[in-house]
């Protein structure tokens, strides 16, 4: 395989270094600061608790509320869409039937958006929910993959595209890579399973390229899930040691 380095020195199939600080907020039931490279998000989980508005509660399950705060600027409809993506993804992962008539409130504060922010937020939410001790059916993990090549190349006819030819799969794109990408695929799965939980693909791709990107993202999800598990284990062991 040809190894072609990106601006930050990674190869196409490398993700950026992950980091996580769990339980960093005092008042939240669960919290985490999670990041990959320069992208960093702070997630706080409150609940399960009684909903503020009674009419909102569901008799047979918990409802999940997500509010997305961008690092800068007013809330846009893109942020509203991200809220929807995060909420729908978490609803499938959290054992909502265990908490009837309650609400689990998740606040996502983007600290720095340097690309792949939606997948970072989903990973952060998974860790924050574990930190809050919310029972889950599976651990949602997410990763982003993109195809490099300028957006204007995508508008060119397919024949021209072959001339331009240079299109590379890049995992975990940074903001500068996302700005010039031909297509982006965000994938979330439940850790250890093959099924697609959430997928958001934008841009222009052939079907084979879509599956290549999705497969690469799934492999990255596996790597992320190993990291999440180790980080949570280390935190629990640390807490136990502090108690003794």
């Amino acid at each position: 395989m040809r190894r072609r380095l990106r601006f930050d020195g990674r190869t196409g199939d490398q993700i950026r270094g992950l980091f996580a600080d769990q339980g960093i907020l005092n008042r939240a039931d669960g919290s985490v600061r999670f990041g990959a490279g320069n992208t960093s998000v702070l997630v706080a989980v409150y609940g399960p608790a009684q909903p503020a508005q009674q009419k909102k509660e569901k008799p047979d399950r918990a409802i999940i509320e997500v509010s997305w705060r961008a690092d800068k600027g007013a809330q846009t409809s893109a942020d509203a869409e991200r809220e929807l993506y995060v909420r729908r993804t978490l609803e499938e992962a959290v054992a909502v039937a265990r908490y009837p008539r309650s609400v689990i409130s998740v606040v996502v504060q983007v600290l720095c958006d340097d690309g792949s922010v939606l997948s970072a937020a989903i990973n952060a939410c998974a860790m924050a929910l574990v930190d809050a001790g919310v029972e889950m059916i599976g651990m949602p993990v997410a990763a982003t993959a993109c195809f490099s090549g300028s957006g204007s190349a995508a508008a060119a006819a397919p024949e021209q595209l072959q001339h331009l030819g240079e299109s590379h799969l890049q995992l975990d794109p940074s903001a500068s890579e996302e700005a010039t990408t031909r297509a982006t695929v965000m994938l979330a799965v439940l850790a250890g399973s093959d099924g697609i939980l959430t997928m958001k693909m934008t841009g222009q791709l052939g079907a084979e390229e879509l599956f290549a990107a999705s497969e690469a993202a799934r492999k990255a999800c596996d790597a992320v899930s190993v990291y999440l598990r180790r980080a949570v284990e280390a935190k629990v062991l640390r807490d136990v040691a502090n108690l003794q």
């Binding site: 929807l84 909420r87 729908r88 397919p158 695929v185 697609i196 222009q204 599956f211």
Partner: protein, 296 residues
């Protein structure tokens, strides 16, 4: 037990019984899409640059594109802007209320904007009038008139139909630095590919194309695929090549990658049926406009 009572008490089992027979409560097959009808140029006000009404079964949406002159953003001095607003109001269904746009409306706005700006059916550079100073801003307004499920497909089809009819009027820049719209036909906006959507519901591992309102509540996940056909090559039948312009699946039950591949194949064959309908509607609107033009 009465059929209606059965449906009310246990809708999941009711639906499962239908699907196991390979038919849906409204009589369609599992992969059968409701009839699509498109008419272009339904809004005749002179400031509306393009409009289209799409009916998908009983779901009806109307979309209008208006053009405004704006200043290109600092970040993209050579591009025009696209603004999308989706209106899902009590007019179309009692599910919606007036006031702040619902989450569903915002998600639909984001889907349309993603398709138009990321998959680039037209170059936003073509909206430029003068670099750094003036560019056309495409204001896309979609109103849902009747919501009977799958507004996403109807909305994207109506936007695609509008794009086929969109013409940018000729402009004159005065010495004072104002943009005046000149007389004349205008130039059609070059559209390199037509993004065509198909939404599926996933019910117990089966794909249900074009879910109705009833089905939207029952299915475990929704999956929208948007594809464009490579016209001109590939030719007739044979499932010509297609490009994927968007895939949206927000949570819900997990689907196997093989099911996604099946959805893409079904979306492609649906696109081949729908594209002539869109082109036909655009052409007949053009003919109607040409017939009235000499008289005025």
């Amino acid at each position: 037990m009465e059929v209606e009572a059965f449906q009310k008490l246990d809708p999941q089992t009711f639906y499962r019984k239908f699907l196991s027979e390979g038919v849906r409560p409204d009589g369609r097959g599992l992969q059968e899409v409701r009839d699509v009808a498109v008419s272009c140029g339904v809004l005749t006000a002179p400031h509306v640059a393009a409009s289209a009404l799409v009916t998908l079964g009983d779901t009806k949406v109307v979309t209008g594109i208006t053009l405004q002159v704006g200043q290109p953003s600092q970040a993209e001095p050579g591009c025009g802007d696209v603004e999308v607003s989706v209106h899902l109001t009590p007019l179309c269904s009692s599910m919606f209320s007036v006031g702040r746009p619902s989450e569903q409306a915002q998600a639909l706005e984001a889907l349309i904007r993603d398709v138009l700006t990321a998959s680039r059916p037209f170059r936003r550079e073509d909206l430029l009038i003068e670099a750094r100073r003036f560019a056309w801003r495409l204001c896309i307004d979609m109103y849902c008139l009747s919501y009977e499920g799958n507004a996403a497909d109807a909305a994207l089809l109506s936007v695609a139909a509008c794009l086929l009819r969109l013409r940018l009027p000729p402009t004159v820049i005065t010495p004072d630095g104002e943009v005046l719209v000149a007389e004349g036909e205008g130039t059609p906006l070059p559209v390199s590919h037509v993004p065509l959507p198909l939404t599926f519901g996933v019910f117990e591992g089966a794909l249900v194309a074009d879910p109705s309102l009833l089905e939207e509540d029952l299915v475990a996940a929704a999956l929208t695929v948007v594809q464009s056909l490579d016209e001109g090559k590939g030719g007739s039948g044979g499932g010509g090549a297609a490009r994927v312009c968007a895939v949206h699946k927000a949570g819900g039950a997990c689907v196997a990658p093989a099911l996604l591949a099946r959805a893409l194949a079904l979306g492609r064959s649906h696109a081949q049926r729908v594209l002539p309908v869109l082109r036909g509607a655009a052409a007949s609107a053009a003919a109607a406009a040409a017939a009235t033009a000499p008289g005025t």
